[in-house]
Every structure is written in structure tokens, then in C-alpha cells.
């Protein structure tokens, strides 16, 4: 996995341009970076006396004023519980939350709003599918069945499947990655069999930045009769998501990584699959009729939304998605492609700095190593210079084992980052080298 430093920039740059090329067919879209930055009040602060440079967007992103205002507005103007209230405020809150569902539907390209389940985030979405689909009477796994994951999965797209397999006597198989950090599709073909029931794949790797070819994977998975769940946590902020074009059966993402609030996310599920799935949590809101002798359940998506939901979260998420679509995901992708390309060039030009992963298609982030310096020390020195990055195993311990690394430093970009900030990152990494020389 360790790439020679000299060849890394070219590959990474190619990845950056690939993103740009696929999204900027016509004239270069205008992108008013100064205005964008002004939309994010948190960015205008200093850390340890230096201007904040926030490069930890893959962990969580900052929020535009439109999101803050949407949440405050809900509480200030029309807050009440949703669902059954007959009064005016309940109607307003319910309508706003259902409009938010429609916004999410449009954002992911689903056919119907009923295919969108509100959840607390990607982790809960995946657990929902593992519990409900994975353990359902009509859809559940049996002993001897198999679940396929990839070597680059976040713990949240691995552990729920381990729990399911353990309980059901099923096996978990792992699709390997190659030296560049791309998925080994030939191995996927070999591993797929009539025993395969569920395949779970990240759209974008949170460590390597690799964009996986979901449409191609979906085709292979469906030909072998399995269903495909895509962990879109790292993709939704950077790529146009269209579940119809991707052809996946489930798609999960988190609000807090797409400039929305934390504690909210969405699961897209193909209508006929959701219809066949049993509830996974019981409570109010998910029932049709409750009697002591037995209860019948509401149709999707309410069937999967027990209890009073995160109302203001859904409304804030919709505001974030509106913000993104107004800016234009293509324009965002082109800008972030430039940031990524510049970062790859600058960092790999520093002696002793090595990029981790060199997939041809990448989005959003770069993992790197500084020779002789532990990633935590890199992170702490960068913090002292006002730069927020992530250091560690990034909740992907099995992948770190494959890479034979205890940890990496990860710089992850968002739509408000600047080329100057990328240059400051590179300069700071040079400082790290000096400090620990």
C-alpha cells in the first residue's frame, strides 16, 4: 500500500481531475468562495491566536447560517410534536418535516418520499437494515448465508453485519482492495455466490478517499440475487447521489457531514424491500392499530420511525441539502477537486511525506504519513497552528491492519476551504518535519 512518494501526486492529481472532468462538462461554473465562507459563522474565529483552518470535514462539517436559522425558526415559530396533533402548530411542524423528507428524496433521486426513512445518522441506518431486513421473517438471513463487506469499511458498516452474522450463523466475507486502495472487483465477482444475501459497500472511503464504482457493483450484486447497501456518509457531501442511477437497494447518509445538524440522517430503501421488512423498534408513530392481542404496523417509512423523532434535525437537514443544491453539487465537486489536487501536489512534494492510497477516483480527503512522526504529534502541531485535522485509525481498524499502519493523519476538505488553506497545511507539515527533525 505504501506508494513511492514521487508517483503519488500524478495519480492523486488524476483522481482530482477525474472528478472535475465528470462534472464540469460545460463552462466552468462560477463559485463565489468568499460568499460561501461568509455563510459559515464558525469559520471566522482564531485558534491558538491563528485563523481557524478547518480540515476535519470528513469527521463532521460546519453549518451554514441557513441551517442554524432553520433549526432556530422551527423552535421559535412552529414547534410541536408531529404526526397526530389536530392543532395548528402540530400541522405546521408535521408539514415541515414531510417537506424535509421530500427534499431528501429529491437529493438522492428516490422515486417516492415513502422510500426515505429518517434516522439518527448513517450508523443507525445501517443498523436498521441489519436488524429489520437481516432478521425479518421474509427477508432475514439463515445459517450458511453470507454478507460481503469490503476491506475499506468504517466500523459502522462492519460491526452491525458481524452482529447479524453471529446471531444467524451466517458468514461475513471481505472483498479486498488493491495497492492503490481500489476495490478488487475481480475478487468481488469470485466472492459473490447464491449464498450471498447482502453486500455492504462504502460509496467513498473515509480513509483513502476512494470512490467505489457503485453502479458496476450493484449490477454484479443483483445478478447474483443479493441486495446492495451503500454507506454514503463520505459521498453525500461531495458527489451527486442518484440512487436510481447507482442502482443500489439501500443508501445511508448522515446530516452532520453534509453541513446539516448532528443526530439526523436518512436511509433510502427500495419501496418493495421496505414493504417486506418488519419494524425494528416499537413505540408510538410506527403503528396502525394497537391491541393487547397484537398490533399492526404502519406502512414505510413510519413503520421504521418509532417515537418522537428529531423534528428540528430533519428541518435543519433539509435546509443543508437546499444550501448544497443551490450552490450546485457540480460546482462544489469541481472546487473540491481543485483543493484535493493542490493538496496532493503540495504534500507529496515534501520530503518524507507519503500519501496513503492513490485511487484513480477520489473525493474529499487525503490521508498521509510524515516519516518518523506519529500522526497524533502531527495533529497536535497542526492544531497549534490553527489547523484542525484528524489523526488515528478513523474507525477503520481492519483497514489500518491491511495497510499495516497504526494510524494516519487525514486532511478532509469541504466546500468552504480555500487554496490558501491547503498551502498553509503544506507549510505546517513542513514545520512538523522541522520540530521533530
Amino acid at each position: 500500500m505504501h506508494q513511492p512518494t514521487t508517483s503519488a501526486p500524478a495519480r492523486a492529481a488524476a483522481g482530482g481531475s477525474a472528478i472535475a472532468a465528470s462534472t464540469a462538462a460545460g463552462a466552468a461554473p462560477s463559485y463565489d468562495l468568499e460568499r460561501v465562507r461568509a455563510d459559515f459563522p464558525l469559520l471566522a474565529q482564531t485558534i491558538h491566536g491563528r485563523p481557524l483552518i478547518y480540515l476535519d470535514n470528513a469527521a463532521s462539517s460546519q453549518k451554514p447560517r441557513a441551517v442554524l436559522e432553520a433549526i432556530a425558526g422551527c423552535y421559535r415559530d412552529y414547534y410541536a410534536n408531529v404526526g397526530r396533533g389536530v392543532h395548528r402548530l402540530a400541522q405546521l411542524a408535521t408539514a415541515a418535516r414531510e417537506r424535509a423528507r421530500e427534499t431528501v428524496r429529491a437529493f438522492v433521486g428516490a422515486a417516492a418520499a415513502e422510500e426515505i426513512v429518517f434516522v439518527s445518522g448513517t450508523t443507525e441506518a445501517i443498523n436498521l437494515v441489519a436488524h429489520s431486513y437481516g432478521r425479518g421473517r421474509r427477508t432475514g438471513l439463515a445459517a450458511g448465508d453470507e454478507v460481503l463487506v469490503t476491506a475499506m469499511e468504517h466500523h459502522s458498516n462492519l460491526v452491525p453485519w458481524q452482529l447479524l452474522c453471529e446471531e444467524r450463523g451466517a458468514s461475513l466475507r471481505v472483498v479486498p482492495i488493491d495497492r492503490r486502495g481500489e476495490l478488487d472487483l475481480a475478487a468481488l465477482r469470485r466472492l459473490l455466490s447464491p449464498r450471498t444475501r447482502i453486500v455492504a459497500v462504502a460509496h467513498v472511503s473515509n480513509v483513502l478517499g476512494t470512490i467505489n464504482p457503485v453502479a458496476e457493483i450493484a449490477d454484479l450484486v443483483h445478478r447474483s440475487g443479493a441486495v446492495l447497501l451503500v454507506d454514503g456518509a463520505q459521498a453525500a457531501p461531495h458527489l451527486t447521489v442518484d440512487v436510481a442511477m447507482l442502482g443500489c437497494d439501500f443508501y445511508a447518509f448522515s446530516g452532520h457531514k453534509v453541513y446539516g445538524p448532528s443526530g439526523i440522517g436518512a436511509l433510502y430503501g427500495r419501496a418493495e424491500l421496505l414493504a417486506a421488512m418488519p419494524p425494528w423498534q416499537g413505540g408510538g408513530g410506527m403503528i396502525e392499530q394497537v391491541r393487547f392481542e397484537g398490533t399492526t404496523y404502519a406502512p414505510p417509512p413510519q413503520r421504521f420511525e418509532a417515537g418522537t423523532p428529531n423534528i428540528e434535525g430533519a428541518i435543519g437537514l433539509a435546509a443543508a441539502l437546499d444550501y448544497l443544491t443551490t450552490l450546485g453539487l457540480n460546482a462544489v465537486a469541481v472546487w473540491e477537486g481543485r483543493l484535493l489536487q493542490r493538496a496532493a501536489e503540495r504534500l507529496s512534494a515534501i520530503p518524507g511525506v507519503q500519501l496513503v492510497g492513490s485511487a484513480r477516483e477520489r473525493a474529499g480527503l487525503l490521508s498521509f504519513l510524515v516519516e518518523g512522526v506519529h500522526p497524533h504529534d502531527v495533529g497536535t502541531v497542526l492544531d497549534g497552528l490553527g489547523i484542525a485535522v484528524r489523526a488515528g485509525h478513523h474507525c477503520a481498524q481492519p483497514l489500518m491492519e491491511v495497510l499495516e499502519l497504526p494510524a494516519t493523519t487525514r486532511a478532509s476538505f469541504g466546500l468552504y476551504n480555500t487554496l490558501d488553506e491547503v498551502d498553509a497545511l503544506a507549510a505546517a507539515v513542513e514545520r512538523v518535519r522541522e520540530v521533530f527533525a
Binding site: 491558538h48 491566536g49 506519529h374 497536535t380 489523526a391 494510524a407 521533530f436
Partner: protein, 165 residues
């Protein structure tokens, strides 16, 4: 490390950087009576501490492993500080060190910069005072105490893990 780092200099002082570059007592200890591994799952740091204890006194001590500058330097300086110390002195020194890096009121602030207090008793932090800066970085406390916790496990495990190497 010229200007611009501000309080970072408190964390990565020259003593710490030096022990990170050239860890002392690094390697296995043949004939160790005690040993234990310390592992920080959060960052993947791993340190193994080896001791030869005779009649309640640490005669020899060494460590090996991979970690950040703070955990490496802490392990290295711990081995220097503890050679020849009794187990009771060791326990009390860890208490003081722990208070220092967690920023507790009795964190040995008075010994800060007093590394060479001549004739200091067994409880003087001495060079370990270099870790006072960690108090400002709560995320790094576990790094500074990793080797110490491994030492504790080694001593608590008694002879059960003896005879390695």
C-alpha cells in the same frame, strides 16, 4: 523550534523531543521478572514494559513499542526515573506524575523547571516535570500515562508474566 508555536513548546519541549529521538532503555530486558503490554486502542500506540524487581526494588527497567512522541518520551523518561526506586516510591511517583499531566492542583507545578533539584527526595518529579504541558492537552494524557499503566499492570500481575526474554 522558533516562534509561532506558542504553548506547543510547553508540550514538545527539548527534553521530550530528545527522548523521542533517542529513547533510553529501549529494547527487551533479558531476565525480566515482570512485564506487561500497554495498548491504547484509540491511537494504536503500544508499549511493553520490562522490569527486574529484587527485594521490592526496581533493579532494571526497559521498554519497547511504537507510539507518539509523548508516549515514547514518557516511557523513556519513566525508565530513567524508576531505576533503583522501591515499589512504594514508584507508586508515589506515579501519583505525582498523574496529577501533573492531568493538571490536578498538586500537579508538581513547584518542581516545574526544577529538574535538577539537587538531593531531591524520591518523590521529586525531576525531569518528569517536562510533561507539565500535557495538562493543557486532555487528549494526550493517555499518551503520557500509557507506559506507567503498563508498569502498573506488570507489577500487579506479579510473577505471572515473568520470564519473558
Amino acid at each position: 523550534m522558533s516562534g509561532g508555536f506558542g504553548e506547543l513548546q510547553d508540550l514538545y519541549g527539548e527534553v521530550i523531543l530528545d527522548h523521542n529521538r533517542r529513547p533510553r532503555n529501549f529494547g527487551r530486558l533479558p531476565g525480566a521478572s515482570h512485564s506487561a503490554v500497554g495498548y491504547n486502542p484509540l491511537c494504536g500506540d503500544r508499549v511493553e514494559v520490562y522490569l527486574r524487581v529484587e527485594q521490592g526494588r526496581i533493579e532494571e527497567i526497559a521498554f519497547e513499542g511504537v507510539g507518539c512522541a509523548i508516549s515514547t518520551a514518557s516511557a523513556s523518561m519513566m525508565t530513567e526515573a524508576l531505576r533503583g526506586k522501591s515499589l512504594e516510591e514508584t507508586r508515589r511517583l506515579f501519583e505525582r506524575f498523574h496529577a501533573l499531566v492531568t493538571g490536578a492542583p498538586d500537579g508538581g507545578g513547584s518542581t516545574r523547571g526544577g529538574a535538577d533539584t539537587a538531593g531531591g527526595g524520591a518523590l521529586e518529579l525531576g525531569k518528569l516535570a517536562a510533561f507539565a504541558g500535557v495538562g493543557e492537552y486532555p487528549m494526550r494524557v493517555k499518551c503520557a500515562t500509557l507506559a506507567w499503566h503498563a508498569l502498573q499492570s506488570a507489577l500487579a500481575a506479579g510473577k505471572a508474566t515473568a520470564g519473558r526474554g
